[in-house]
Subunit: 287 residues, 2 copies
């Protein structure tokens, strides 16, 4: 039976590391701080916010929440963003997306300070993903995948990673991050022919396709590592991934559950990014 990857272990390790670094920054008189900018009260935003707040507390990172009404004007949102950009005590900014329809994300994204953009909203940071430039901030979920593989000491160099899904949230950025770890990467999607045989080549299979339990044991080779990034509701309203866990557990060498896998690591990555933003601001003041 394959080893079950526990997101919590990875998150705990990252939290511990971040916490130690935050403590030493505090001893030098600097206190890392995250601003959360939320428009409206979307339940999934609020749920993620609670998780993020709890994680930041564990890490010793301060948080200030800016809550805007869901009919806020674009100019007012941008004014808030610029205020936060300029606020010296704030190192990182998380804006929940998608924004309401009347707000033009393609315009707004140009206003966030790239140096504080810990969740990869700015085109500057998006460009750095494809450039493989590690000075930027990649989005939390793809970074969480890489952190999990790192925690379990999986050397990706030369490994064949197959990514199922080509979204900007996961598929494309995770492909670029895996390439940056010297993996050979195949990107599959709804138009892929012979999907099963391509997935079966994977040393590491990353499922990020958004279809509940689509990946069963016929998609994986003996001993594959299976990372499930899917978040779906099954017919009974239970949270389930893209992978049929029961079907795959005996064939995979390692596998992430949903919940308790990748999702458990994202707020820890966010904390890591706030720490980095604070450290960078001391190294490169004025940026």
């Amino acid at each position: 039976m394959g080893e079950i990857i526990r997101g919590k272990l990875v998150a705990d390790r990252i939290t511990e590391e971040v916490k130690l670094n935050v403590e030493s920054l505090k001893n030098e008189g600097f206190s890392p701080k995250l601003a959360i900018l939320r428009v409206g009260n979307d339940p999934s935003d609020l749920s993620y916010e609670r998780g993020a707040l709890a994680r930041m507390v564990k890490c010793g990172i301060e948080v200030e929440v800016f809550e805007l009404s869901d009919d806020v004007s674009e100019d007012s949102l941008i004014a808030h963003l610029e205020y936060i950009n300029n606020k010296q005590d704030i190192n990182g900014i998380l804006i929940f997306r998608p924004l309401p329809d009347h707000l033009n994300e393609d315009r707004i994204k140009h206003f966030i300070s790239p140096a504080k953009d810990v969740d990869c909203f700015s085109p500057d940071n998006v460009a750095k993903i494809i450039e493989g430039d590690k000075s930027g901030f990649s989005p939390a979920t793809p970074s969480a995948v890489v952190e999990i593989l790192k925690f379990y000491k999986i050397d990706l160099s030369g490994k064949h990673c197959v990514v199922l899904g080509r979204s900007m949230l996961v598929g494309k950025p995770v492909s670029m991050l895996l390439l940056g770890q010297n993996a050979t990467v195949t990107i599959c999607h709804s138009k892929t022919k012979d999907l099963r045989s391509i997935c079966k080549m994977a040393d590491v299979l990353i499922a990020a396709v958004g279809r509940a339990k689509m990946v069963d044991e016929s998609f994986i080779k003996e001993g594959a590592i299976v990372i499930d990034v899917g978040i779906n509701m099954d017919d009974e309203g239970n949270l389930t991934g893209d992978v049929n866990f029961e079907s795959c557990i005996n064939k995979a060498s390692m596998i992430t559950p949903v919940p308790g896998g990748v999702g458990a690591v994202t707020t820890a990555v966010l904390a890591q990014h706030v720490l980095k933003a604070c450290q960078d601001s001391l190294l490169f003041p004025g940026h």
Copy 2:
């Protein structure tokens, strides 16, 4: 024997289309114009400039060359860039890269107007490559690959494209463009294990690895389409691609030569981009 893909045919078709569009713009009183900003006199820059000038003339596109001395200061270069950004009669800007070492490209790239950035220097346009946002400008060489496949009516949907090389000049952007055409994409590189068998899966193999004649018939499957983006010098000082053309020609169904393949199409793509920039400026004035 496989069909030899002639870059010139593709370039001629694009040139003809651009020319017709330029004529109708001129009839409406608008004349598309490209600015070339060159620092120093690097022979390969000058050679590309000659090709670009000839192509623009064929298309009816005006060109203004701004030649700066190779010891120009960063601030002076940026001042030139801003002058050109603001010049109403100029629609597109091509800056030769890499710039001399004393000039910080990572800073300068933020100053080019994304709307005039026809060669994908600005992070805004780089971000759009991974986002699959076709409103931007992708770099000329990867775009030329896609134009060639389009000219030969190769439907990429569901096809397995294997890209050999992961550079920011070709490998990564071409992978994203092929993904945007619904291909399944595998990105290989120097760390890839079992490279031959992975390349052999390709319906379309894109070689952009920078090693003369590395790809022989043992890398391709019967009937594969082989696109050679390599530009290398062999031992006798002849221009040669990454593909051993003689070895592959009988097994491939279609193959690009070097020279006369992809390279012949890049200036035509540049002309296409200048046209688009001019058309966009009329649709979205003030951008």
